[in-house]
């Protein structure tokens, strides 16, 4: 490849701080690195191969001082790609040991729960966020009557509503809460 003759020059100019040469080198080397990553690491999918190329660019940036200006640039870039690819392969192997395939486990299975009380906590969280989404008046009535377990008379005194109006408001607040939770009347 004739343009690769420029790569060594661009790389030594980059060592001297020339940003244009550095950018020209990286842009010219990018498709070459992508091709090399696909060829050298056939096990890697497209995202992983691109991650390897980006690791290579970052490693090159941090180790520009290691390049010997008298030597060709391609073995230097390829060497970094091979070392970073090997790092990724080791990391992938380490992660695979710790991973558990979930394909055979039903979505509703309690096997996925890490704590026995997890389901209760999830339900409480859903109710709490649904209550938070109600109008302030509904929230206040439900909190007094259902959470603090105050009597109708006490709630009536606290809110200034008549007991009858309070009953109607409570009924409507619960209906709105059920709607927020996605619970239909048939359930």
């Amino acid at each position: 490849m004739s343009e690769q003759g420029d790569w060594a020059r661009w790389l030594s100019e980059a060592q001297a701080g020339n940003r244009r040469s550095y950018e020209a080198l990286l842009r010219a080397a990018l498709p070459w690195l992508r091709g090399m990553a696909r060829r050298r690491f056939p096990w890697a999918d497209a995202a992983e191969a691109e991650a390897m190329v980006q690791d290579t660019l970052l490693a090159l940036h941090r180790n520009l001082h290691l390049y010997d200006p008298g030597r060709p640039a391609e073995p230097f870039l390829l060497g970094i790609l091979k070392l970073r690819g090997a790092d990724r392969r080791r990391m992938r192997a380490r992660h695979q040991v710790r991973e558990t395939p979930l394909d055979d486990v039903p979505v509703t299975s309690m096997a996925l729960a890490t704590k026995e009380t997890q389901e209760v906590a999830i339900d409480a969280g859903r109710v709490s966020s649904a209550v938070g989404a109600l109008p302030p008046r509904d929230r206040e009535i439900l909190e007094m009557l259902k959470l603090r377990e105050m009597s109708l008379a006490e709630t009536s005194a606290a809110t200034g509503m008549s007991v009858g109006a309070l009953k109607v408001a409570t009924f409507r607040a619960i209906r709105r809460l059920r709607a927020k939770l996605g619970v239909t009347d048939e359930e």
Binding site: Q15, G17, V53, L57, H65, L66, F76
Partner: protein
């Protein structure tokens, strides 16, 4: 992040860097400091009384020569290991040199034991070897770590192993100039055992030091 965007930001972040000297040049620096230091240690400890006679023995000269080759090849490999464009055979050459060196000592041990009907294999305590190797090896080991600190990103463990082996081999070459073993089996066990112990300890310590050196700029970047 797209690779094209990454390239733009890397180019904006570029600053001038000073290229690292070549491995051959670093090797010359290491030898230029280590050889006078080892010579001074040998003079301070006092050369062994039979040194002149030993220098006429082919076995001693070959074994010392192989020790020197192992030290030089290992140091060169240590300086090459951190560079991504160096071929693999350079990195594994020290293992071959060490095997030849150990093999020659083993061969000498076997030959002498056959001539001496096994008497030469009687092991004797020679605990002086361990501190002597440490005294002789600590400066070459420290120097090689200092010279490798800027190339500690790639193949760090391999570089540290080669560097530790270089310092251990150089220390053993010096040790045999001021400390003699009673027989070849004692030499093989105590001196080479000390070299191996020194190499593995220095490998661990240098690897830890260089890992911290490599992390330090990243920590500074994150803090900044």
């Amino acid at each position: 992040m797209r690779s094209e965007d990454l390239i733009t930001s890397l180019a904006q972040d570029l600053g001038a860097v000073r290229p690292l000297p070549s491995p051959a040049r670093l090797l010359a620096v290491w030898l230029g400091v280590s050889v006078p230091v080892l010579a001074a240690i040998t003079l301070m400890m006092g050369p062994r009384p039979d040194l002149a006679g030993k220098c006429g023995e082919a076995g001693f000269v070959i074994s010392q020569g192989l020790g020197v080759v192992t030290a030089v090849v290992s140091a060169y490999a240590a300086f090459c290991a951190g560079r991504p464009d160096q071929p693999g055979w350079k990195l594994w050459a020290p293992m071959l040199a060490m095997l030849v060196w150990l093999g020659d000592l083993g061969r000498q041990c076997a030959v002498v034991s056959l001539q001496d009907a096994g008497g030469v294999l009687r092991l004797q305590l020679d605990p002086m070897c361990v501190p002597a190797i440490v005294i002789a090896g600590v400066i070459p080991a420290g120097l090689i770590v200092a010279l490798m600190r800027r190339s500690a990103t790639f193949r760090r463990d391999h570089a540290c192993l080669c560097g530790a082996l270089a310092a251990g081999a150089a220390a053993d070459v010096a040790l045999r100039l001021f400390h003699g073993s009673v027989n070849i089996a004692t030499l093989l066990l105590w001196q080479m055992g000390s070299v191996m112990l020194f190499t593995s300890t220095a490998w661990f310590i240098s690897s830890t030091i260089l890992r911290n050196v490599a992390r330090a700029p990243r920590r500074r970047q994150l803090a900044g």
